[in-house]
């Protein structure tokens, strides 16, 4: 019992046995902790690829809600609402499924497939087109807010050049992890917004618009959209129902992000606690030693802790 206590004291309390510095705070001990953190990350990344399916991003994102929130943003900016296009929704679904099937997270597929190929394949003849992508978000509102926070994605969402929208929420295996991908396509087709009935409309172009052409092309020239946001709100229009309501059932999954976040918080709090004991003991015993400033270490670790706490899951492209 005494031996056990002395070992704990050696680990956490400055004294003669540990050269008046808690053993946990010695450089070699912190290196071991760093190694353990990296190893835990390796396990989190490796487990899904080895077939253990407990990690993933559970989401409950509704297509209708994405469209409603997008139109709400447009209304707030004084831009006309977008009408739902079943053809664009079909193209968005094809794009999302292609990303999952080929395990890529990009506007352009590894085999060089451009985003607007999905428009043309779906039969959408476009004059202007745009594409926003998102993954690992848990709700429609956080997804739209993330796009809205990014200037290039916001340009797409608020561009007056588009009059139609199609959204798909696709869920599946992405690099071994259950992932929810949201594909948001914008377009302006030929023939004044009748895309629901006739599969002819626009095409995609990353975060930019395409130049109007007399004929739809697979390689539209990208130009920056000209935005003229107005402070005058326009009535919000909640658009058409999608034919296939994208209900994404809530799953019981362990999020890789939240797992990492938990491990990080526990590790930092642990080190900060040991530093606190160190500061208290050194101050009380008036120990003079060569070393860094424990208060400074605490402040730095506290800043990292704050960053970890405010960090949110989700990526946009």
């Amino acid at each position: 019992m005494v031996d056990y206590a002395s070992k704990l004291s050696h680990l956490f309390i400055p004294g003669y046995s540990n050269n008046h510095k808690a053993k946990v705070l010695h450089p070699e001990s912190i290196l071991v902790i760093i190694f353990l953190v990296i190893f835990s990350q390796y396990l989190i990344q490796t487990f899904p690829k080895s077939g253990v399916r407990v990690l993933g991003y559970a989401a409950n994102i509704s297509v209708d809600e994405i469209i409603r929130l997008t139109n709400q943003k447009r209304a707030d900016a004084g831009v006309q609402s977008l009408s739902f296009s079943a053809t664009l929704a079909s193209a968005a679904k094809a794009k999302g499924e292609d990303m999952l099937a080929k395990d890529y997270w990009a506007h352009v597929a590894p085999d060089g497939t451009e985003p607007w190929k999905f428009f043309t394949d779906a039969g959408y003849k476009y004059r202007y087109a745009g594409e926003n992508l998102a993954r690992d978000f848990s709700s429609a509102s956080t997804t739209v807010d993330a796009w809205n926070a990014s200037p290039s994605h916001k340009e797409n969402m608020l561009s007056g050049k588009y009059d139609e929208i199609g959204v798909a929420v696709v869920e599946g295996d992405f690099n071994g992890v259950d992932t929810t991908i949201v594909v948001q396509l914008f377009g302006k087709g030929y023939g004044d917004n009748i895309a629901q009935a006739i599969p002819t409309s626009s095409a995609v172009a990353g975060n930019a618009n395409t130049v109007p052409t007399s004929m739809p092309t697979a390689f539209p020239t990208k130009v920056l959209p000209t935005l003229t946001p107005s402070s005058t709100p326009t009535p919000m229009v909640i658009i058409a129902k999608s034919g296939t309501p994208p209900t994404t059932p809530q799953k019981t999954l362990v999020s890789p992000f939240n797992t990492t976040k938990g491990v990080s918080i526990v590790t930092i709090v642990f080190l900060m606690a040991v530093f606190t004991i160190d500061i208290f003991t050194v101050s009380r015993r008036k120990i003079a030693r060569v070393g860094g400033r424990a208060f400074a270490h605490m402040a730095f670790l506290g800043m990292i802790l704050i960053i970890i706490i405010i960090a949110r899951a989700g990526q946009i492209l």
Binding site: I34, Q41, A146, L271, V290, A296, M303, I304
Partner: protein
């Protein structure tokens, strides 16, 4: 603040983490140099703490 405003830009968030770690290391070196107690073990201590913070922060950013 930067971490909040660019919360979905992985590259920028990573840059903030690395810049913070490097700045902390630089602060530690300058601080101890000015106090005339800059030794290799002190430098090593700041280096490892900065590296630890960077590893923790980056592992979270790139797990999302």
């Amino acid at each position: 603040m930067g971490f909040t405003f660019v919360s979905y830009d992985t590259g920028f968030r990573g840059a903030i983490i690395i810049a913070s770690a490097v700045s902390y290391l630089a602060w530690g070196v300058i601080h101890h140099y000015l106090h005339k107690d800059l030794y290799f073990v002190v430098f090593l201590e700041y280096l490892i703490i900065a590296f630890f913070g960077a590893v923790i922060g980056l592992s979270l950013i790139f797990s999302s």
